[in-house]
Symmetry: C2
């Protein structure tokens, strides 16, 4: 039986440029499909959430400039469920906006908040965890995060330390949050077994996070004075435009979760990846050959004397004929061909050069 008080906020306003030239200013990662299955990260997120949340309760928050992308990828999304921020101000302002919009509809709402650009597998585990978390949140003021049981010491993720031992189906109090530890610290974290990956997925009563925001982030909620009258009215757009000009850029972790003494975490063993850099893309790509090349497709290619490359073309019908390449990243899009050694430092430095104004037209 669906829980009609269960809502979901899909945050789809990211402007990430880490995967340029695959992602662009006008087409960030959440709208892309890195796999051969033909569904973007956003589309997958929506489909995942609708297995747990009534569709009419799923809201998408994005930037005005991405409106068309969302509408074309989620044609069934009711117009009133699409919230448009004028600017990206990180997750806390985004969550405040969507929380007010939900409270206006249902003061008893329980809300799941999720990024739109992560990869998740083992859906039955994911769904069960989410349902447990919703049930728990409904009867409390707990601010809950989903924590992923880590499989390796990865220094690209945030970590959550549990204050005790988890019981199946119950959350554990959070002891600490740590953003991207160094490799050594990440290894220690894994060894203690007290740490989980921070999935960026939250569950709480809308009223509970509203009060927490008012307490810990008044610089945000102050700007929202009078929201009940404004939201849904003809004044909404100029109001948003005005308050977002002054809105601080701040993440929900920093604004609330690291400050509250009511943060809880549900440890879960679904498979999760925040594909945040090229190495995680290498792992994620659909096809790996015996020479360690990772590609986004299996056909229309001839790789000879090639090993350990990432080869990615946005054109399905393009023939990729490569010989004698080792440890390179080869990205072919309609308007950019990028070839660079698969080396974090070289890539970073090369991409920063390519972000110079003279290449502006390709952003």
């Amino acid at each position: 039986m669906p829980n009609n008080h269960a809502y979901c906020i899909i945050m789809a306003g990211g402007i990430g440029s880490r995967f340029w030239p695959i992602s662009r200013a006008g087409l960030p990662k959440q709208f892309l499909d890195f796999s051969i299955q033909g569904r973007s990260f956003l589309r997958r997120t929506y489909d995942r959430m609708k297995a747990v949340i009534p569709e009419e309760n799923i809201l998408v928050v994005t930037l005005e400039r991405y409106r068309e992308q969302v509408v074309s990828q989620l044609p069934e999304l009711p117009e009133e469920n699409l919230l448009l921020e004028p600017y990206n101000r990180n997750t806390a302002p985004c969550i405040a906006f969507a929380t007010y919009a939900i409270l206006q509809r249902d003061p008893a709402a329980v809300t799941v908040v999720t990024p739109s650009d992560h990869a998740i597998a083992r859906h039955e585990v994911f769904n069960r965890t989410l349902l447990d978390a919703i049930a728990y949140a409904e009867g409390s003021d707990a601010l809950i995060t989903l924590g992923v049981v880590p499989t390796r010491p990865d220094s690209n993720f945030g970590y959550i330390q549990m204050a005790g031992h988890p019981e199946p189906g119950s959350p554990v109090k959070v002891k600490t949050f740590t953003e991207k530890p160094d490799a050594e610290l990440a290894r220690v974290f894994i060894e203690t077994k007290e740490f989980l990956w921070n999935s960026g997925i939250f569950v709480w009563r809308a009223e509970a996070i509203r009060r927490a925001l008012e307490k810990y982030a008044p610089e945000i909620t102050r700007l929202w004075d009078g929201w009940r009258d404004v939201l849904g009215s003809e004044n909404e757009k100029p109001f948003l435009e005005r308050i977002y000009t002054d809105m601080p850029r701040i993440s929900i972790d920093y604004a609330v979760m690291e400050k509250t003494d009511n943060a809880w975490v549900y440890p879960a063993e679904f498979r999760w990846a925040d594909i945040g850099n090229w190495e995680s893309l290498y792992e994620y790509l659909a096809y790996h050959d015996e020479q360690g090349n990772a590609l986004n497709r299996t056909s229309r290619r001839l790789l000879k004397d090639c090993s350990d490359n990432i080869v990615y073309s946005t054109r399905d019908d393009k023939l990729l004929a490569l010989r004698g390449m080792e440890d390179f990243i080869v990205i072919d899009t309609d308007d950019v061909l990028m070839i660079c050694p698969r080396d974090e430092e070289k890539l970073k430095d090369f991409l920063s050069q390519l972000a110079m104004p003279e290449y502006e037209e390709y952003r």
Copy 2:
């Protein structure tokens, strides 16, 4: 004062596939522009010839399948000056066809025969040589070739040995023809100073080459029995279709020039290149940077830690961002990305793999 008996045959039926994926079965080299000047080899050839030959006397011979390409690149070409061969049978049959067509118009014609896919510079020298050769041919039965004074021992070209010392403005008798000597022999050729590069450009009276073809290549001219009645009639197309089925594949050098005792050569110092392989393309490309990279353009590129590469994109507006590549060929077209070490053997072998039936759609 233009010589109204001067004619030109531009041979534009080549089906070369050596520059795949830049050239294609449907778009061979003569229709391409390897430079940034925007004119194809065919267009340049036509423009070069019209400086010397009356435009109404310039004929283009191509294959039926390339008709549209020629018409779009030479819109001013009168329809009756476009001769269409049903199949490619090398240069001797092509020259026979065009010679008959010219003789039907003007029995006193002097004809220049030229390939359509060579690069030529120093036009004033070229034009002067051509005018000298036309004047000489008009008063004789000489079968004349233009020989280019070589600047290096290149084993990709054919060589012509002179039977004596050249006098300015006069041709020299040909002693021998040698196709593509090995590197050692090419060096000896250069040292003797008796050898010239065979430019593939011929000058002769139409009647003289007709008689020479009848004498040395009766297997071709026999098929043309009755040509005076057929050419220009409604029977021309089925006639061509029929005789080309039996037409031998043979070059004019092999069919006539190596057999006649009336072959002459005009030594000339214009700049000439038969861009017949990737190394000659490297030399020919419009832009060379200080690291020895050759590109077909100067803008929309970022090459870092790259040296001695050939980088070629058919898309003007595509950004080429390469790092850490050395001695590679990088060819980007709309439907093929080819990257291969700049090594003749590796390229040849790779291209032969890419010519397999499974890549048929990209030919």
